[in-house]
């Protein structure tokens, strides 16, 4: 049986990749995907703990996260499409209307 720590390390690596991509990428689609990556890294940690502790709480959490992520994806992609139409670009550096 694979030890729990392996899952957790994989989860942490995936999450770290997500964070790095989230901070350093300019393409808004990539950033969006890195958020999904972070969410799924967390999901992995949840199911790992659930399996290790023989409790189903973690799996319930994962289902919640999937639902919320789906809703977020719908809204987020909608925003991205509108931004892309208005600016003819997917570069987040160009989205700076809030700047004084």
């Amino acid at each position: 049986m694979v030890p729990t720590s392996y899952y957790l390390i994989l989860s942490a690596v995936l999450f770290g990749l997500g964070v790095v991509a989230f901070v350093f990428k300019r393409n808004v689609i990539t950033i969006f995907m890195s958020i999904e990556l972070m969410l799924n890294a967390v999901n992995l940690a949840f199911v790992a703990f659930s399996q290790a502790r023989h409790q189903s709480d973690g799996q319930v959490f994962v289902l919640f996260v999937i639902v919320v992520a789906a809703a977020e994806a719908a809204v987020g992609l909608g925003i991205i499409i509108l931004t892309a139409r208005n600016r003819q670009s997917l570069n987040v550096e160009r989205v700076d209307l809030l700047k004084l």
Partner: protein
């Protein structure tokens, strides 16, 4: 319905008249305003007459008539002040003077003010003044008296500044108000001291508790002496005595009926009334009595000398008023309270008459007040001339006229005064007598300059005309009172009993020394002779300077220009006050309070807080770059901080322990 049970109706009527005219009168024609103003004061006068009649008809077992309690005004802790009105012999005199003279002056004003703007406003203020003055004289405790006291001050301010578009009038109003405030400060301190000593401000209780107390010795400053001096400080403000008299001459900026009613007949006598009302306290404080007498006497001579050279007809009368008020205080100071009140009454008659007649002269001359531009008016305005001459004879103390009896009573009392040694009384008498000489001189100077000699005005431009009967009627009535008003107090050599002081005796019982009565009767005739002689000397000098040797007066003024200019400039008292009090205050206000405390301190604090918030915001706003990725970095950093806290904060150890 006996009025004695409903005394409140007497002051309330003028208040109603004032409210109706003030709120609604703006759009009404003059005759409706007249009927409201005259109706309310006339009714008030009628009710006062009826109250006095009922009071005099009371059987001796009902006297003294107890104060009437209407409602509690202040009830805080152990301090109580009720809306209590009272009527006694002293109040009767004041009531008659205030409502009677007040009513006459209201009638006069309908003629005098007919062509002025703000007609309804004038009568609203005048009625309001009547209300407060009646409260003042009818109040049964110091607190309510103070309400009237402040109220008449307010009305005085409003009416002095009636022509408020004129800067001098507005300034004079402010001056009157501020100078009075200095006196009121003392009055309030006096009230507080009385309350601390006696636990109440009701006249009856205070006097009942004070009467058995040990009197302070001369030169000893016990509680009663200090309280009396503080009350007298208030009186010097309201009654224009040294050193607070400066506002009264300036108050002549107000319309002439106001000068007559407020600044001659009634309000300025309030100080005398308070001293007389508090006679129980004053007789226990010989030091305070001496101060009252000396201040009164000094004021009498001081103001009379200034009156000698004034050229404005109303200014002469103003200084004359200050001088006569000094006489009243002299009387109170030497213990002759009834003589002081008697002079108050006769003075109300003849000084109101003098002012109203002067108003009639000014009216006739089309607004001219400078006596140097008058002259020869006696034939053109006969009624005014005759009535004014009557008043002059009354004030100078011509035999049989009102002032003769009242002034003689005062001089006699000061001659006999032994407070502070017999020499003090004699000195007061001599100074008072000299002031009488000066009074006679400046009054006849006024008459001669105004009514005799050649006209010194442009006869083509000024059409001298007699005033309407609404103005002359009150003059005639007051002239009659100026003659017969004195007969209430015939001295013994005249064969008559002194009705007036007998009448006031229940009020001043024990206040006036009866021991010297026999000596007094012997002295009355010679002293009266001396007084008449003095008045004659004053008259002769005035006659010599202004009738038989025209031009002599100017020559005399030139030859003594130093003294003349000092008098003309009123001893430079206004300049002195400006240098000592006003300018330093202005400097402190401008440089310390305004520029330092207000602008630098208060405004600086407020503006400083605002500008530091602005600059802080200006610094912090740069963190909001609008760059999505930098926000992302902040989110990550925040998350790392939270994680670090959870794992490495000592108290959070159990959390990290959960991870296996």
């Amino acid at each position: 319905m006996p009025i004695l049970d409903h005394l409140w109706i007497i002051p309330l009527l003028p208040l109603l008249g004032s409210a109706v005219n003030g709120l609604l009168g703006g759009k009404w024609p003059n005759n409706i305003v007249n009927s409201v103003a005259l109706g309310s004061t006339g009714l008030s006068f009628a009710f006062a007459l009826e109250a006095v009649r009922e009071f005099l008809a009371l059987t001796p077992d009902k006297l003294p008539f107890p104060p009437q309690h209407y409602f509690d005004w202040i009830d805080a802790g152990n301090f109580r002040a009720g809306f209590d009105l009272q009527i006694d012999q002293l109040t009767v005199v004041m009531l008659m003077v205030v409502t009677g003279v007040g009513f006459l002056i209201h009638i006069y004003s309908t003629g005098y003010m007919a062509h002025e703007g703000g007609y309804y406003r004038f009568f609203s203020y005048l009625n309001l003044f009547m209300f407060f003055m009646l409260i003042l004289v009818m109040a049964a405790n110091y607190a309510l008296l103070f309400v009237g006291w402040e109220g008449v001050g307010l009305c005085s301010y409003l009416l002095i500044g009636f022509f408020f578009l004129k800067k001098s009038a507005a300034d004079a109003g402010k001056k009157a108000f501020i100078v009075n405030r200095i006196g009121d400060f003392g009055f309030m301190l006096g009230m507080m001291l009385l309350f601390r000593t006696f636990g109440t401000l009701d006249f009856t209780t205070v006097f009942a508790k004070a009467a058995p107390m040990q009197a302070d010795a001369l030169g000893q400053f016990g509680t009663l002496t200090v309280a009396c001096l503080l009350l007298f400080m208030g009186a010097t403000g309201k009654s224009a005595q040294l050193p607070l008299y400066v506002w009264l001459p300036d108050a002549m900026e107000g319309p002439t009926p106001v000068s007559a009613l407020i600044h001659a007949a009634t309000m300025v006598t309030a100080g005398v009334y308070v001293v007389a009302r508090s006679y129980v306290l004053f007789t226990h404080a010989p030091t305070a009595m001496l101060v009252v007498a000396v201040v009164g006497c000094a004021t009498a001579i001081f103001a009379a000398t200034i009156g000698l050279v004034q050229t404005d007809i109303k200014k002469v009368l103003a200084y004359s008023t200050v001088s006569q008020l000094g006489y009243m205080f002299l009387a109170c100071g030497v213990g002759a309270f009834s003589a002081g009140i008697f002079h108050l009454m006769t003075h109300a008659f003849f000084k109101a008459l003098l002012f109203l007649a002067a108003g009639s002269v000014i009216h006739a001359m089309g607004g001219e007040q400078d006596m140097r531009h008058m002259g020869g008016l006696s034939k053109k305005i006969k009624w005014t001339y005759v009535t004014m001459l009557t008043a002059t004879l009354a004030i100078t103390g011509a035999p049989l006229f009102a002032g003769f009896f009242s002034k003689d009573a005062i001089l006699l009392a000061s001659f006999q005064s032994e407070n502070g040694g017999a020499g003090t009384g004699r000195t007061l008498y001599a100074v008072g007598l000299f002031a009488a000489l000066l009074t006679s001189f400046y009054m006849f100077r006024l008459i001669f300059l105004t009514f005799f000699g050649k006209p010194r005005y442009d006869e083509h431009h000024v059409h001298v005309h007699e005033s309407p009967w609404s103005m002359l009627g009150p003059l005639v009535i007051l002239a009659l009172l100026s003659i017969f008003g004195g007969w209430f107090a015939l001295p013994s050599f005249w064969g008559g009993p002194d009705y007036f002081s007998n009448f006031l005796a229940p009020v001043f019982s024990g206040g006036e020394s009866a021991a010297t009565e026999a000596a007094a009767h012997a002295l009355e005739l010679p002293l009266a002779g001396v007084a008449v002689l003095t008045a004659l000397i004053g008259f002769s000098i005035a006659f010599w300077l202004y009738i038989s040797r025209p031009g002599k007066a100017e020559a005399l003024a030139k030859s003594m220009s130093g003294a003349y200019n000092t008098l003309l400039n009123k001893y430079y008292v206004d300049e002195l006050y400006a240098a000592v009090v006003v300018n330093p205050l202005m400097w402190v206000s401008t440089n310390v309070l305004w520029k330092f405390v207000d602008v630098a301190g208060i405004d600086g604090t407020v503006n400083g807080i605002a500008s530091s918030a602005t600059s802080l915001g200006d610094t912090v706003r740069h963190t909001q770059s609008g760059n999505t990725r930098s926000y992302a970095v902040w989110v990550v950093i925040g998350a790392l901080v939270v994680i670090a806290v959870i794992f490495f904060w000592p108290a959070a150890a159990p959390v990290s322990g959960m991870v296996r």
